[in-house]
């Protein structure tokens, strides 16, 4: 049981800085997921906590003790790797017992701990096998077992499920979550899969280019994304963005296309003329009659998923990325019968607008 704290942690490889100062306090027993696109520095952060990379700036503390200069083995953490990193020449039992043997634990106790972990992970029948005789999911469990038996103060996971097929991934995701809940061990979990991130995390760290853009609960991140990056990264299909201008006089947001979006419920005092970007999640769009519509979507493709219907298309007027027509997606009920090639009048659900500053790309707080 323990806490982990990162204080303006930086990392440079040679002259290139890849982590530009990360601050986070992980509470005892908390499950923190670090999510972000490839190359944003997730693994680097995790490896610094593990002691596999040196820290070039700031402090990392585990349980209140600064660990910057400690070897990995002195930090009392356990790590689960993407490629499992099992010892290929050792049996499952020996893989799990390795750390305990080195710690000089009595044989009887080692056997007991390994048995308990094996039972928890349904690995009892496989204890004498070598890793190569196991399936991917079983190997992943052995890696988990190796972490569990040492009863570390924290678990560190680096994309532990990304080598598994989709179905197994969902199953293992649930198992990891249950396991962490029952053990109550503080965990840091790295993934680039936002579903994994949303489902596992007590709190999310959304990283982009070496910076933590937002640290909050999954729901809060979803409902109040702190920046355009976060808004676009969390949620699938991703949030729609349109450039707009605040027009206080009429209490509307005027889109580049000339259309106006009602800004009812938003207090935009003295913001007139400010250039912004509005964000609308696909699920916050509803079919409307043409006269009540906020937007008209030119349909390009329709995906019928059963429960939902995803409509992809474009909205007249420039997109935020400089395209002529903003690409747009809407998630409508599964029973909405929509033909391709039509135009679709859509209404934005009440209170569903996200506003971002066009320059800083940060969220504009509802003033």
């Amino acid at each position: 049981m323990s806490t982990i704290s990162l204080k303006s942690v930086r990392k440079s490889f040679g002259k290139t800085e890849v982590i530009h100062g990360i601050d986070v306090e992980v509470a005892d027993g908390e499950f923190i997921v670090i999510v972000g696109p490839s190359g944003c520095g997730k693994s680097t952060v995790l490896r610094m906590v593990a002691g596999l990379e040196t820290v070039t700036g700031g402090d990392i503390a585990i349980d209140g003790n600064r660990v910057n200069d400690l070897e990995p083995m002195e930090r009392n953490i356990a790590m689960v790797f993407q490629n499992y990193a099992l010892y290929p020449h050792m049996s499952v039992f020996d893989n799990m017992a390795y750390g305990l043997k080195i710690a000089g634990m009595p044989k009887a106790e080692i056997a007991e701990r390994v048995q308990t972990a094996a039972k928890m992970l349904q690995l009892e029948e496989y204890l004498t096998r070598k890793p190569r005789q196991l399936s991917g999911g079983q190997r992943q469990r052995v890696a988990m077992g190796r972490a569990i038996v040492r009863e570390p103060s924290a678990f560190l996971f680096d994309e532990p499920l990304s080598n598994l097929d989709a179905k197994l991934r969902v199953q293992m995701r649930l198992e990891i979550k249950q396991l962490q809940r029952s053990l109550g061990t503080t965990s840091l979990y790295v993934t680039h899969d936002q579903v994994e991130a949303m489902t596992l995390a007590d709190r999310l760290i959304v990283m982009n280019a070496g910076v933590a853009e937002q640290i909050d609960t999954p729901m809060h991140v979803y409902e109040h994304p702190a920046s355009i990056f976060v808004a676009g990264f969390i949620g699938s299909p991703s949030m729609n963005f349109l450039p707009a201008k605040i027009d206080t006089g009429r209490s509307t947001l005027s889109l580049e296309s000339g259309a106006n979006v009602s800004a009812e419920g938003l207090v935009l005092a003295a913001q007139s003329g400010r250039e912004i970007i509005i964000g609308i999640r696909p699920e916050h769009l509803e079919l409307a009659s043409p006269d009540r519509a906020d937007l008209t979507l030119h349909i390009a493709a329709v995906e019928t998923l059963g429960a939902d219907t995803l409509v992809h298309g474009s909205i007249a007027g420039a997109g935020v990325d400089g395209t002529k027509n903003a690409s747009f997606a809407a998630r409508l009920p599964g029973n909405a019968r929509i033909a391709e090639g039509e135009t679709l009048p859509l209404r934005i659900a009440d209170g569903a607008l996200h506003l971002f500053d066009r320059q800083s790309e940060k969220r504009i707080a509802e003033i």
Partner: protein, 293 residues
């Protein structure tokens, strides 16, 4: 569909095969047969007549204390060469594997000795250890050690072992380094997190995972020490002093070409042939089912 190449007649395939068959026949089967055949005879010193003696040559050899001593010498020599060249190469490879910068230059420098022919290497080492003008023997003299491999059998053995191992280190180093780099980094990191220090990791994780490489090199190096070190021994000690460095291959040469005892020399070749055969079988069996996990 027929994937094999089909020929209309049998002339062309025969023609294509001929060079290889001739080379093999001329340079392997013919000498091998000659060795087996001659091992059954004792020719007179002028090579005019030979007398059939059956397995007499072999009987004599196995009873000959010098020949048995040569077996023993070979065993010591090849163990030392194998151990020294592999041990040192492994150590260098482990160090090179830890390097992040400059490992390219380091590697290139370490490969060079492999390009030096054994006989040339022998001469180089002979110069350095020359009892009168050698650099190393001079320093040893300064340090109070009187080096004389011409008289001292142990020093002679030491010198041929050093000279034979030297070029071999490069070869072994390359294989060990490749083997080390094939071990996933995360496995080593997992062991570090599990509490294993460098040497503990080395002996419990790295070394076992290197075992296929190690075993392969063991066989290859023994074969090398048995057969390919002739040049080194010939240039440095010519088998002396008092046969202290006469390994089996060298004895074939010295008994046959120097001692003119062709029958015995042939018998020795046959024995060596059997030894190579056994080593080759081990090697092939190993390559067929590698030690893998």
């Amino acid at each position: 569909m027929e994937k094999r190449v089909t020929f209309k007649g049998w002339m062309l395939p025969l023609l294509l095969l001929t060079p290889q068959v001739l080379v093999t026949a001329f340079f392997f089967f013919w000498p091998a047969w000659q060795a087996v055949y001659q091992s059954l005879f004792i020719p007179d010193p002028f090579g005019l007549r030979s007398q059939f003696v059956g397995l007499g040559n072999f009987e004599f050899l196995l009873g000959d204390p010098f020949y048995r001593a040569s077996f023993w010498t070979t065993a010591i020599f090849s163990s030392l060469v194998t151990l020294a060249s592999m041990g040192f190469a492994l150590w260098l490879a482990v160090m090179a594997d830890r390097l992040i910068k400059g490992s390219g230059a380091y590697r290139t420098l370490l490969i060079w000795p492999y390009a030096v022919a054994p006989a040339v290497a022998g001469v180089l080492w002979l110069f350095m250890f020359n009892t009168r003008v050698g650099v190393i023997s001079w320093y040893l003299g300064q340090a109070g050690y009187d080096w004389n491999h011409v008289l001292n059998p142990n020093e002679a053995m030491g010198l041929v072992v050093i000279a034979s191992s030297w070029g071999r280190i490069s070869y072994n180093f390359l294989f060990f380094l490749a083997g080390l780099q094939a071990i996933p980094k995360s496995v080593i990191e997992a062991a570090a997190i599990d509490g294993a220090h460098f040497w503990k990791r080395f002996w419990t994780i790295v070394f076992p995972l290197l075992s296929p490489t190690t075993f392969f090199l063991l066989v290859v190096n023994i074969v090398y020490a048995f057969f390919e070190t002739f040049g080194v021994i010939h240039t440095i000690t010519t088998g002396g002093p008092q046969q202290a460095t006469t390994i089996l291959v060298y004895k074939v040469y010295s008994d046959g070409f120097v001692g003119q005892d062709l029958g015995s020399s042939a018998a020795q070749s046959v024995i060596l042939l059997v030894v190579v055969g056994i080593l080759t079988i081990i090697q092939f069996r190993y390559i067929e089912r590698r030690v893998h996990y």
